[in-house]
């Protein structure tokens, strides 16, 4: 509880206020709201995970903060400044890695350093530092096509870090990885954040991943895209994979999963909820 109180004192880093995003339907001139009146504040250094059914506007929300999608009304402020376009203060990690395929691993990171204006002579060493941060070494000269998905995403994270953003925006970055690689990347990300803390907005479909990584899980719903609820994650800060088996973790996971199920079916199946609560109670007792 104490840690939560302290966090509340942290200044607001990302301020999303009454954000509405409408897309034009191709063909006719109609617009369709992908995001309706969304408000969310993220504190400095906080890790917020966003979960929600497909098409509920998670990517839209993230892209708005990145400055890749324009707000139809409302605004996004980062460090008090209105977001008007992409900027180096906000790094993005995409699900499709988006590494430049014509550049080697280290050149991808150097690209980022070059855009930041790091002097030529320092770039190679700096780049190696960022690759080390995500647990990559010895693959500097490999081309992206020869890398596994997990390694590609490590490079992408290193490249995002190399721009020295204060905010990291991650859109299902581990969504395409197999279970083992995913877990390793989660641990690698937590480690990188421990060494180099950043404010993170992280979209995922995986409730377990959301809880494991974040300080707060935000649940979104569709039609129209909006924030339905949020749940603080009050687990210890230095997390290890084993935490996923803890009683608290499992309880939180079943609670959020249930909320998501309700949102996705659109009906509040109280009977099922009650049954589920009983099941989680039983599980708790078993664990004890």
């Amino acid at each position: 509880m104490g840690s939560v109180d302290r966090q509340l004192l942290e200044p607001t880093k990302i301020e999303i206020s009454d954000l509405v995003v409408k897309y034009e339907t191709p063909g006719n001139g109609d617009t369709q709201a992908a995001l309706s009146k969304t408000t969310l504040n993220v504190r400095d250094g906080e890790f917020v995970a966003i979960v929600g059914p497909s098409g509920c506007g998670k990517t839209t929300l993230l892209n708005c903060v990145a400055g890749l999608v324009r707000a139809s009304s409302g605004f996004v402020r980062v460090d008090g400044k209105i977001v008007g376009g992409p900027g180096r203060d906000r790094g993005v990690v995409f699900q499709q890695y988006a590494l430049f395929p014509w550049l080697s691993v280290i050149e991808n990171v150097i690209f980022s350093l070059e855009m930041r204006g790091v002097p030529r002579t320092e770039r190679a060493n700096e780049a190696r530092r960022y690759l080390d941060l995500v647990g990559l070494s010895g693959v500097e000269d490999v081309m992206p096509k020869a890398l596994s998905g997990g390694m590609k995403q490590r490079v992408a994270i290193a490249r995002a870090y190399a721009a020295e953003p204060s905010v990291l925006l991650m859109d299902e970055p581990f969504g395409a990885l197999d279970v083992q690689a995913k877990e390793r990347l989660q641990v690698a990300l937590l480690r990188a954040l421990q060494l180099n803390p950043r404010t993170v907005l992280f979209v995922t479909h995986d409730v377990e991943e959301a809880i494991f990584l974040s300080d707060r899980v935000v649940i979104m719903g569709a039609n129209p895209g909006r924030i339905v609820s949020e749940t603080p994650v009050e687990l210890q800060k230095d997390r290890v994979v084993e935490d996923k088996l803890s009683e608290e973790f499992i309880a939180l996971k079943s609670q959020i999963s249930q909320e998501l199920r309700v949102i996705e079916t659109g009906k509040y199946e109280s009977e099922a909820v009650r049954k589920n609560n009983v099941i989680s109670q039983v599980k708790k007792m078993e664990l004890n």
Partner: protein, 280 residues
């Protein structure tokens, strides 16, 4: 190679993906396939010649035999006409191709960058692409006379349109996520163009170039209908007037072989320059 090995070494310790055993087996198998593929080329060449020989026996009036074509080759090589014809044609195709390529690439970029320009030019591109170059010959003669410019301009026309259309489509298909990734790193304007859009477009430029050189050769015979006195197209046209069947076949085969060599050279350059992409 050493990089790949290094990579495999690291890969074993880190993210799960390829099990090294499988990878090695795969390499071994891939090498086996490479041998088969290479021998396929020879098999295909030999069977082509066999089928040709068989046809020439079955249809002696329509198909020149491999022997008679070899004899024509010997004669035309020793009297020096074939090398000269080859030289004329290669230079014409090379000049038409180079100018076509060099002009088509910037236009392809411009069409992608400026939507207004695209709407302005698209109908004309569609209009001209359906016109066979041979139909333009009378106009070409009116504009450029009957000299080398006229012949090269027919080839240029074909190459330009082919490269333009292919490259334009390729640039349009550049992965939007790559451009987004560059933009969020602070890249914009000319730097975005030079450091991301151009390299990402290189594979489609090569595709355009390979199709362009093919259409250059395809158009050669038409181009050399314009008052030529040398060249492979001229050679075929002239031989057909005397109904010199072996010479006609020789001309056709020579064009095919040179076109094939050009394509392989381009492919080699392409493989070297863009080893990062999966070149077929």
């Amino acid at each position: 190679m050493s990089n790949t090995e290094k990579f495999l070494e690291v890969n074993r310790n880190q993210d799960s993906v390829p099990n090294t055993k499988i990878t090695k087996q795969h390499n071994f198998r891939a090498r086996g396939f490479a041998v088969i593929y290479r021998s396929m080329f020879i098999v295909s060449l030999l069977s082509g010649i066999v089928i040709w020989a068989a046809l020439s026996v079955l249809l002696p009036k329509d198909v020149a035999s491999p022997v008679s074509v070899s004899q024509a080759l010997g004669t035309l090589m020793t009297n020096g006409t074939l090398p000269i014809d080859i030289a004329y044609s290669v230079v014409r195709v090379a000049v038409g191709f180079t100018v076509g390529l060099v002009l088509a690439i910037p236009v392809a970029f411009a069409l992608n960058a400026v939507r207004g320009l695209r709407n302005l030019l698209d109908p004309w591109i569609q209009f001209f692409r359906v016109i066979p170059p041979i139909a333009l010959i009378p106009l070409v003669i009116v504009f450029f006379g009957i000299g080398e410019t006229a012949k090269v301009s027919v080839i240029f026309f074909a190459v330009f349109l082919t490269v333009l259309i292919t490259t334009y489509q390729g640039i349009r298909m550049i992965d939007a996520t790559l451009i987004r990734a560059a933009r969020v790193l602070g890249t914009s304007g000319w730097r975005l163009f030079a450091k991301v859009i151009v390299p990402a477009a290189v594979p489609s430029i090569f595709t355009g170039a390979r199709l362009g050189i093919a259409s250059g050769w395809t158009t050669l015979v038409a181009a050399e209908l314009i008052a030529a006195s040398h060249g492979l197209g001229f050679m075929i046209t002239q031989a057909s007037q005397y109904f010199d069947l072996p010479a006609i076949y020789l001309g056709i085969i020579t064009i095919g072989v040179i076109g094939f060599i050009f394509d392989r050279l381009l492919l080699r350059v392409e493989r070297r320059m863009i080893s990062w992409a999966d070149v077929g």
